[in-house]
């Protein structure tokens, strides 16, 4: 039996990388224009709450169980399997989405002439390699990569505040358009992407050595990612002004291009590419690993290795065949998917699940009390 254990710090760093993954380079919350940072702040708070809800769901299902089992306990065996399969396919679809996002980004920013399928293929090969390795490796590497990512982000952020083009006034007046753009940005887009996607981590809680430590401290990971996104939103608006930042597909890239320290440190777009590659890779891996593990469980395979190539092949096919048009891709991703897909999988079903499980626990407690007396 393989020992599979990761500790709190490792899982927390996985969460940070996951949430920052594709969100850094896209303009999060720009529908709120200047107040994007406020929108992100509100979404972060909601995100922390969502995180605790998922933890509660895991605990209600009985710690140590796989996601499939939790769903089965809530909904009865056959329905549970069907819902679990739907979830794993949902993760597969999300993995394909992120692959598509990533390929568009690389195509835009550094490799202009390369066909998109090359990028998708190369990143998925790397994901396959990582999936063949075990969960401890994923945990340890996430720690290393979080360190790298946060170092670069801090460097970049420090440089940026010293630019002559950064004006705090660009962020004022606050609430110029009132609250409605902020609310429109938060529901349904921001809370589902990136904060609601942490539902995938329910599949990973079973590997923790000490769940109680994680339960107490993991919300800080969500906070850190939220804060980072807020700072980036502030920088984007401060440097590019809200009117212009809205139009850019990747505003953070443009912001980074402005860094010019002593005429020597320039062209840090490379760092943004590194950051997105790390984040994108981890996000695809986390979705894929959960999906692979889950489907391997459903098909009763002893080792998940056999599932890796078929799973990622389907991811590749979906991303290569259907995600060729960036505009349509963005539209689906930010307008349609959050409303019709994310809300169901991230809120509806888990809420239902939680309620049922809590009810079952209450019933058990009452029965026990009845027995005692």
């Amino acid at each position: 039996m393989e020992i599979k254990k990761i500790d709190t710090l490792e899982l927390a760093s996985m969460i940070i990388l996951f949430q920052l993954g594709s969100s850094i380079v896209l303009g999060m919350g720009m529908e709120a224009k200047k107040d994007a940072w406020m929108a992100i702040g509100i979404a972060t708070v909601i995100g922390i709450a969502i995180h605790f809800c998922y933890i509660a769901l895991y605990r209600a299902g009985g710690s140590g169980k796989t996601f499939t089992r939790i769903l089965q306990d809530a909904f009865s065996r056959p329905i549970g399997v069907i819902i679990a399969t739907l979830y794993y396919l949902y993760f597969l679809y999300l993995a394909a989405r992120v692959t598509g996002d990533f390929a568009f980004f690389i195509n835009e920013v550094i490799l202009w002439s390369v066909s998109a399928w090359v990028i998708k293929l190369s990143i998925l090969l790397l994901v396959a390699y990582v999936c063949y390795l075990d969960i401890e490796t994923l945990g340890r590497s996430s720690q290393a990569l979080t360190l790298i990512m946060l170092t670069f982000l801090i460097l970049v952020i420090v440089f940026m505040f010293f630019l002559k083009d950064f004006h705090w006034n660009n962020l004022r007046p606050i609430l110029e358009e009132g609250y409605s753009p902020i609310i429109k940005a938060v529901f349904p887009t921001l809370i589902t992407f990136p904060f609601g996607e942490v539902i995938v981590f329910i599949c990973y809680y079973q590997y923790l050595t000490k769940f109680s430590t994680f339960q107490k401290h993991s919300w800080m990971a969500v906070l850190i990612s939220g804060l980072t996104l807020i700072i980036i939103a502030v920088l984007n608006v401060g440097l590019l002004t809200a009117d212009l930042a809205e139009y850019f597909t990747f505003p953070f890239m443009k912001t980074i291009e402005h860094i010019n320290f002593l005429n020597f440190i320039r062209h840090l777009e490379l760092l943004a590419v590194l950051v997105f590659t790390i984040g994108g890779l981890i996000k695809i891996t986390i979705f894929s690993y959960a999906g692979i593990q889950g489907l391997a469980g459903i098909f009763k395979l002893k080792k998940k290795q056999k599932m890796i190539i078929p799973f990622l092949l389907v991811v590749y096919i979906i991303s290569a065949a259907f995600m060729n048009n960036f505009i349509v891709h963005l539209y689906i991703g930010l307008k349609i998917v959050p409303l019709y897909v994310h809300l169901v999988f991230q809120f509806l079903i888990p809420m239902l699940c939680l309620v049922i499980l809590l009810a079952k626990i209450m019933v058990k407690k009452r029965k026990r009390r009845a027995v005692k007396t």
Binding site: V118, L125, A128, L240, F248, H258, Q305
Partner: protein, 391 residues
């Protein structure tokens, strides 16, 4: 894991053959340094200043740059059409300068050009933008440089130099320019370049044989835009006042007259700070402008006794009056052109949010010209140099 290895190997072959990887050695690439855009009837005339690298140790007679130009209805098309004339693939990666001809700014407006610059992924967004005056961009790119190797480089470095030492021109990047055009509270302003001397001799190598240049490019003034079309021009002094109001003047030299005899004294400015407050009063905007300057006395041709504090105060007062007058002049110019390029609208937007909303749409056309201004300048002379002598 073995299957993965095989797949990886196969993908490697696939990528190499079908991946459309565009590799270019440096000697297969034509690096464009500067782009010039003019407008002729319905077409864009795009000129490219392309680097012509000299092989090491074998200097040939080739010039360091070559300028190509083409005409087409759209910018992108024009640039790609240059391939018919050039032996290498154009690479926009190192473009540092874009010169927009007057013809564009006066007719169709610079939005088309600007959008192309922002959209093209290969172009860096740290390039300088200039507008020409009395000359086409094409001619501007063909001027032989005196101190640098590459003509574009001479322009860029002159701009950097001026920004730091004289302050009448500052670099503007495409993102900033576009943001100013989009903004409703401020109009865009672009540094302008002009040719001094004869444009034909300026492009010939023979000019390098004279010690004192008689045809060269000079930065002169700022072009004021209304939305994205040219609305007017500020001269050198007004340009400096503009940057003074914006608070981004670094070092400069201000001079004034001590008395009616027109004797000058001058201050090297080390530090300047401006603050502007705005408010709407019954539909009439009011602004308070406060300018603080710190300088060193650089030249004194008047009869004045500087050992007593009154002397310094007198100089400071004279300077303050001068500055207030020049700022007033600038504002009047802006009101005459009906172009709020200093950004008073933006200030109102922050200071008086609710009122701004009401008047936003008609700000420039009607309200701005009725604004009242209260200007105060504070000059502090810090030092008077190595010697304390006066005539």
């Amino acid at each position: 894991m073995k299957t993965l290895g095989i797949i990886a190997l196969l993908s490697l072959f696939a990528i190499l053959s079908l991946g459309n990887i565009n590799r270019n050695e440096l000697n297969e690439v034509a690096l464009v340094y500067a782009i010039g855009i003019d407008r002729e009837s319905d077409n864009y005339v795009v000129s490219l200043q392309v680097i012509n690298p000299q092989p090491l140790n074998n200097p040939t007679d080739k010039l360091p740059v070559v300028v190509y130009d083409t005409k087409a209805k759209s910018m992108g098309k024009a640039i790609e059409m240059v391939s018919r004339k050039i032996s290498r693939q154009l690479s926009p990666a190192q473009v540092q300068l874009i010169i927009i001809g007057e013809s564009v700014a006066e007719t169709i407006g610079i939005n088309g050009v600007l959008n192309y610059i922002l959209r093209e992924p290969g172009l860096s967004s740290m390039l300088d933008i200039l507008i020409t005056k009395d000359i086409s961009a094409w001619d501007a790119l063909k001027v032989i440089p005196f101190m640098e190797d590459i003509p574009g480089s001479e322009i860029v470095k002159t701009l950097e130099n001026t920004e730091v030492n004289w302050g009448s021109h500052q670099r503007i990047f495409p993102t900033q320019l576009k943001a100013e055009i989009l903004s409703r509270g401020k109009e865009a302003i672009v540094p302008t370049i002009m040719l001094i001397g004869d444009k034909k001799t300026a492009g010939e190598k023979a000019i390098l044989e004279t010690i004192s240049p008689n045809a060269y490019l000079e930065l002169s003034g700022l072009t004021v835009m209304n939305e994205d079309k040219k609305a007017g021009w500020l001269n050198d002094n007004q340009s400096r006042s503009y940057y003074l109001i914006k608070g981004s003047l670094k070092n400069s030299y201000f001079s004034s007259y001590c008395s009616a005899q027109k004797e000058e004294f001058g201050l090297t400015i080390i530090h300047s700070k401006t603050s502007i407050d705005g408010k709407m009063n019954n539909g009439k905007p009011q602004f308070k402008i406060n300018v603080d300057l710190v300088g060193d006395l650089d030249e004194l041709n008047c009869d004045m006794d500087l050992t007593k504090p009154d002397g310094i105060k007198k100089i400071e007062k004279l300077m303050e009056k001068d500055i207030e007058a020049s700022i007033k002049d600038l504002i009047v110019q802006s009101q005459t052109l009906n172009c709020d390029f200093i950004g008073f609208g933006d200030i109102l937007r922050i200071d008086d949010k609710s009122n701004w909303k009401k008047y936003e749409k008609i700000w420039q056309k009607e309200i701005f010209s009725t604004s009242k201004f209260e200007i105060t300048a504070n000059v502090t002379v810090r030092n008077y140099g190595d010697i304390n002598i006066s005539d």
